[in-house]
């Protein structure tokens, strides 16, 4: 009889442990089961295509071909950088596009956000207006602006009126020196509202008391901006810069709809070139290599921006 209590005492924790484990086990099954649909889809339509992008880029795979893909080593990458002037031009155009769009769009977005962050009557209406181009499809926007950019189109007629006939504009999209600039303008117009909203969300996280304190110290609006607003926006800035840059590097629709990369490859971009090679000319292997180069560029930009903004903080 005296032996009984220890046995019970020894058995209780073991049993509870077993029960605990079985609960854990069931939770694992539940977790896996509920993760499975998304997990399988992500493997099928994200992981495998990424692996394919890597492997195909070292082959001469074609979309429809009787021959199986053959391993060609680094040929595709060598070809891109030495034997494909259109690729180099496309890479340069993409770089120029990003170089202009990133600061201008981020700056304009911030300016708009500051303007609509005031407690003024009707300010919500302006937020909505600035956001309207964002919800308008980029395909629609591209066609619309192509219409306005015509030689005898709305833009030139407006220029003509505003300069009292001194300058009647050029054929924007058919001129190699203006086509990319024309695409830059409409791209900024379309997306700046999106970034205005992100900046606005950032502005609203800055506590009102900081501004009141600054005002008590007699800080001018500009001083309030540089000493309170700007430091408070650092995390938002990282996000805005990274998203704009990645979106800018992926420039495709505007080019496809408006210029088809022309005139004389002056508006071709990395993604446009990859799609043209891979889809229209069926050179999947080579196009995968270009896609991979694009991905490395995106990765580098994201890493550099993260590093830069973190150091300052």
């Amino acid at each position: 009889m005296t032996v009984t209590p220890p046995t019970v005492a020894a058995e209780t924790p073991r049993r509870s442990l077993r029960r605990f484990r079985s609960i854990k086990g069931r939770e694992t099954w539940a977790g896996l089961a509920m993760m499975a649909p998304a997990g399988i889809l992500l493997i099928l339509f994200l992981a495998i295509p990424v692996i394919l992008a890597f492997t195909l880029s070292f082959t001469n795979a074609r979309l429809i071909s009787p021959n199986p893909p053959r391993f060609v080593g680094l040929d595709n990458f060598v070809r891109a950088f030495t034997a494909d002037p259109v690729f180099l031009q496309s890479a340069w155009n993409t770089f120029v596009f990003a170089l202009v769009v990133v600061p201008v769009q981020a700056g304009l977005g911030l300016l708009l956000a500051v303007l609509v962050n005031r407690r003024l009557r009707g300010v919500t209406a302006f937020r909505v207006i600035f956001f309207v181009p964002v919800v308008t499809s980029i395909v629609v926007v591209s066609i619309l602006w192509k219409f306005m950019y015509q030689k005898d189109g709305l833009i030139n007629s407006m220029i003509d009126t505003l300069t009292f006939g001194a300058w009647s504009g050029v054929d924007w999209l058919n001129n190699p020196s203006t086509a990319l600039g024309a695409i830059i303008v409409l791209s900024i117009w379309q997306a700046v509202g999106f970034h205005m909203i992100i900046w606005l969300a950032g502005l609203q996280t800055i506590p009102e008391e900081l501004y009141e304190a600054a005002k008590m110290d007699g800080a001018s609006p500009w001083r309030q901006f540089t000493n309170v607003t700007w430091p408070g926006l650092r995390p938002t800035m990282v996000f805005v810069l990274v998203t704009i840059t990645i979106a800018a590097l992926g420039l495709f629709v505007q080019v496809d709809v408006m210029t088809q990369g022309g005139p004389m490859a002056s508006t071709s971009t990395i993604v446009f070139h990859a799609v043209r090679k891979g889809y229209e000319q069926q050179e999947i292997g080579y196009a995968s290599a270009i896609s991979l180069i694009f991905f490395v560029a995106v990765l580098l930009v994201a890493l550099i921006q993260r590093r830069l903004t973190r150091e300052k903080a």
């Binding site: 649909p37 339509f45 979309l63 980029i138 219409f147 495709f252 496809d256």
Partner: protein, 315 residues
């Protein structure tokens, strides 16, 4: 302006302290006027292309050309009619394109809400082996832009098995090109949606789960009966953030859908555009596919803006 003059006239009869206060007030009014001017200028820049599009869609090409040098370009005056819209319907199966886009969008968003919220639930509220690793992998995939995998993905879906009905018989075939599923299935699971759901679900008290567990509820019941009903804002955010890209899909259907009867509106638009038709008709088509989205946006404007804001603050 009336307020400004009132402030100025009263300031004359005040003490110096009062004068300082009113001059501050005057400068505030000036700031406000300046803000309104700036807002209006930007407002014009943001709206004029769209106003021009809608107005032009109502005019024949000769009228568009004639109005171009005057403010009439932005006014629905002159030879106004819906002829361009009828022209579009006569020329291409816009009704079919619209139906395709609606179908693809509804299924992508709807199935995405279910699949991604379940995954978000599994990652945020369940303790299972490998959870941390899976979560890290999901977040890591956020850096992969679709453009990187688009071309290899065409190659991949061209080889996937599929079921087809041929002459009333269910058959096994290969290749997803020219189907509805190729426009939907690859976009259902979305790492960013999973991440947003997981984030939101962690804010719901875990004690609710424990209480339900004691009452014998299964994890799926807890998800469906407790977590989903409490997560309206998260579902709205994800729905809005996935609705726009689904409706606006262009690059992908351009590559994988050649059959006219399966084309979504954006690709149908591009083909229509290349037919070299009248600009008035082109503007009618673009207006036609823009108006529904603008209506949805204006109705849910508050939710739209806060969804975008939420995606930025958390990213």
């Amino acid at each position: 302006m009336a307020a400004t003059t009132a402030a100025l006239t009263t300031s004359r009869s005040r003490t110096s302290a009062g004068r300082a206060a009113t001059s501050e007030k005057a400068s505030r009014v000036r700031g406000r006027v300046f803000t309104y001017l700036a807002l209006s200028a930007f407002g014009v820049i943001f709206l004029f292309p769209l106003v021009y599009m809608f107005v032009s869609s109502l005019k024949p090409d000769s009228q568009i050309l004639q109005d171009i040098g005057s403010p009439r370009a932005f006014l629905p005056v002159g030879d106004i009619s819906l002829d361009n819209y009828f022209g579009v319907f006569a020329r291409v199966p816009v009704g079919q394109f619209l139906w395709n886009s609606v179908l693809v969008t509804v299924l992508t968003v709807g199935l995405g809400l279910v699949v991604n919220s379940m995954a978000g639930f599994a990652l945020s509220r369940l303790e299972w082996r490998g959870r941390i690793v899976v979560m890290a992998l999901v977040i890591a995939t956020l850096i992969v832009p679709f453009e990187t995998i688009a071309v290899p993905m065409v190659y991949w879906v061209a080889q996937l098995p599929t079921l087809v009905i041929e002459g009333g018989v269910l058959k096994y075939d290969f290749g997803w090109l020219n189907t509805y599923q190729v426009q939907i299935v690859p976009f259902i699971a979305n790492a960013f949606s999973i991440f947003l759901f997981a984030q939101y679900f962690t804010t719901i008290p875990k004690s609710l789960d424990e209480a339900a567990r004691i009452d014998g509820a299964s994890w799926f019941t807890i998800y469906r009966r407790i977590v989903v009903p409490l997560s309206g804002p998260a579902f709205a955010t994800v729905a809005i953030l996935t609705f726009l890209p689904a409706w606006n899909q262009y690059l992908w259907p351009l590559m994988v859908v050649q059959k006219e009867e399966l084309r979504p509106v954006m690709v149908g638009m591009q083909y229509f555009f290349q037919l070299n038709t009248a600009w008035g008709e082109v503007m009618a088509y673009t207006s036609l596919i823009t108006i529904p989205v603008l209506i949805v946006f204006l109705v849910f404007q508050r939710a739209f803006v806060s969804s975008i804001a939420a995606s930025g603050v958390k990213g």
